[in-house]
């Protein structure tokens, strides 16, 4: 029986961490994720968790401490945003290559510069090729649920990869909304205990962690990381199925919203998907066949499944909340276009970079995208595939 509550996204993430009660949390505060370690340190002080809380002096140290803790055989978690993740960057790759299932709560914020504290996905996109599993969350509920599922996925023997749960800075992290929580006991039962096969403090089976890995083996080890990432897809589906049997809340690799009979669709991630749902509902009332595909699992990218779910459409708009500044298009756009191309499906596609630095994305903005798509459906032509949405100037 779920518990009806109202929490902000940060409170939801911190509550999930409290219920998971990991062995170690090492964190350094940064807006807008600061509240997560702040609330968690209160749980430690109150004795509601028995976690070792390490108040480190930087994010580089936060990730390093998590790596040390996981190598030793314990469960470690952290939280950060934007430049905090940038400072972790060196250790982010160490964590995934050592196959340590660390769980990180990433509250998405624009990476400087110039300095901005508001939401975009440039922080997440900076580590999209680092070998971390990346789950995106539309709201506080999904941030909570994804966190509860995180360890089961990351620690699976076929995966053994670190995992980050993303949610939109301020937009969901600081918005109080309804949420269904599960009881501490049931969370504990679902998450289970962590018994790693190999760990540093196992004196019966000594191992080395992080030695030199040159021409003879690094390639093979990278390929193994790649295989683990591919295997993660199935594990995510299995864990999500168990989660649904327990809570009744369904999760797949992505959410299809009124997509099956749609003519055109938006593909996006996090909170904008919620705004898009409201617009889709309104357009449907007017007989416009609009749909949405919301990516939940961004890494591993479910290429084949995405291609199949989108192949019947007459026009697609992919929304990127980070500009790759590469003269081609945003990262999600490139992933979706390659997915369709490799599956030998062709649908006219257009990319919108939106919401940079916390620029508000309104229902009107989303509606304008569907208006553009209607035109593309009519003509079959995409004049300029790399566009901006909500930018304060006339497009040239």
């Amino acid at each position: 029986m779920s518990i009806r509550e109202r929490l902000s996204g940060n409170e939801a993430a911190a509550t999930a961490m409290k219920q998971i009660n990991p062995d170690v949390v090492a964190a350094f505060p940064i807006t807008p994720s600061t509240e997560i370690p702040q609330y968690f340190s209160t749980f430690v002080a109150n004795g509601s968790v028995d976690t070792e809380f390490v108040a480190v002096e930087s994010e580089h140290s936060a990730m390093s401490a998590c790596i040390g803790a996981e190598s030793a055989g314990s469960r470690a978690m952290t939280a950060t945003s934007a430049n905090g993740l940038s400072l972790m960057w060196e250790m982010i790759y160490i964590a995934s290559s050592l196959r340590l299932p660390i769980v990180l709560s990433l509250v998405n914020r624009a990476v400087s510069g110039p300095l901005n504290i508001h939401c975009d996905h440039s922080d997440a996109m900076g580590v999209r090729d680092s070998g971390w599993i990346m789950l995106f969350s539309e709201n506080n509920q999904e941030a909570y649920d994804n966190t509860l599922m995180a360890h089961r996925i990351a620690e699976d023997e076929n995966v053994r990869l670190p995992l980050m749960i993303c949610q939109d800075g301020f937009i969901t992290s600081h918005s109080i909304e309804n949420i269904e929580l599960e009881s501490d006991d049931e969370v504990k039962k679902f998450v289970g205990e962590y018994h790693p096969e190999h760990y540093l403090l196992d004196d019966q089976n000594p191992i080395a962690v992080g030695p030199l890995d040159l021409q003879a083996f690094l390639f093979e080890h990278k390929a193994q990381q790649g295989e683990a990432m591919k295997a993660a897809k199935q594990v995510i589906l299995e864990v999500s199925k168990d989660f649904e049997a327990w809570t009744g809340r369904h999760y797949g690799l992505f959410e299809e919203y009124r997509l099956a009979d749609a003519e055109m669709a938006i593909v996006c991630m996090n909170s904008t998907a919620g705004t898009t749902k409201a617009v889709v509902d309104r357009l449907r009332e007017n007989g416009i066949k609009a749909g949405l595909l919301k990516i939940r699992v961004y890494r591993p990218f479910p290429a084949e499944e995405v291609a199949n779910a989108l192949s019947h459409l007459k026009a697609i708009a992919v929304l990127d909340r980070a500009d790759s500044l590469n003269a081609i298009g945003g990262a999600l756009f490139e992933d979706v276009t390659s997915s369709l191309y490799v599956e030998n499906k062709h649908v006219p596609m257009v990319n919108y970079v939106y919401g940079i630095g916390g620029r508000d994305t309104t229902e009107k903005d989303i509606e304008s995208v569907y208006t553009d798509l209607t035109e593309i459906v009519k003509t079959g032509k995409v004049e300029n595939p790399y566009r901006y949405l909500g930018l304060r100037r006339e497009e040239k």
Binding site: R6, E138, D360, T362
Partner: protein
């Protein structure tokens, strides 16, 4: 979401407009509603204009953007009336609630001919008489509940008793004053004719 109610708060940093929006979300949540309560974060400092928002509905709320066409606007500080376009997008079927003692003529001028309901309350008087200090957010919370009829007066008082007990766990001496502020504010909010 036909019963969706959207509220925009205008205040100055330090007056508790954000807290009031969160308390309103709390109170509506306790009546069984779906709620959102969120401030528009900027470079906040004491005295700077701030905006906060509420969505309240009988159905789940998926929209995650600021509110541009609110049903109600609450102005916690009337010195904002000349510098912020407080009625921007405000539905004529809705209302604006202002903490002020200014004349109806003045309000008519600064509200640029807004045709919906205009309500005022002297939150300073309420706050000084009940709390002995100027905290306008508690009276304004009662005022918006009264005007929007999100819940009954009794439901608000009952719910806030619990919330204040929790919020002021370390300052229980202020609970009574805040309850009195709510009760008095429910009587002191008047429509401008």
């Amino acid at each position: 979401m036909s019963d969706l109610i959207e509220i925009r708060w205008h205040g100055r940093g330090g007056q508790g407009a954000k807290t009031a929006s969160l308390l309103l979300a709390d109170a509506a949540f306790n009546t069984g509603k779906y709620i959102q309560g969120f401030p528009e974060y900027g470079p906040e400092r004491m005295g700077a204009p701030i905006t906060a928002y509420n969505r309240i509905s009988g159905d789940p709320i998926t929209i995650h953007s600021n509110i541009y066409e609110p049903d109600y606007v609450v102005v916690v500080d009337d010195t904002l009336l000349e510098s912020v376009d407080v009625t921007a997008g405000l539905k004529s079927s809705g209302a604006i609630v202002i903490n002020t003692t200014k004349s109806p003529d003045y309000l008519k001028k600064v509200l640029k001919g807004y045709s919906g309901g205009v309500y005022t309350i002297d939150a300073r008087k309420v706050s000084m008489e009940t709390l002995g200090k100027y905290f306008p957010n508690t009276p304004m919370l009662a005022a918006i509940v009264k005007v929007s009829k999100i819940m009954t007066d009794e439901a608000l008082l009952e719910d806030m008793k619990g919330s204040f007990k929790h919020k002021f766990a370390k300052k229980p001496e202020v609970i009574e004053g805040n309850m009195k502020a709510l009760e008095m504010a429910l009587q002191e909010v008047h429509q401008v004719q």
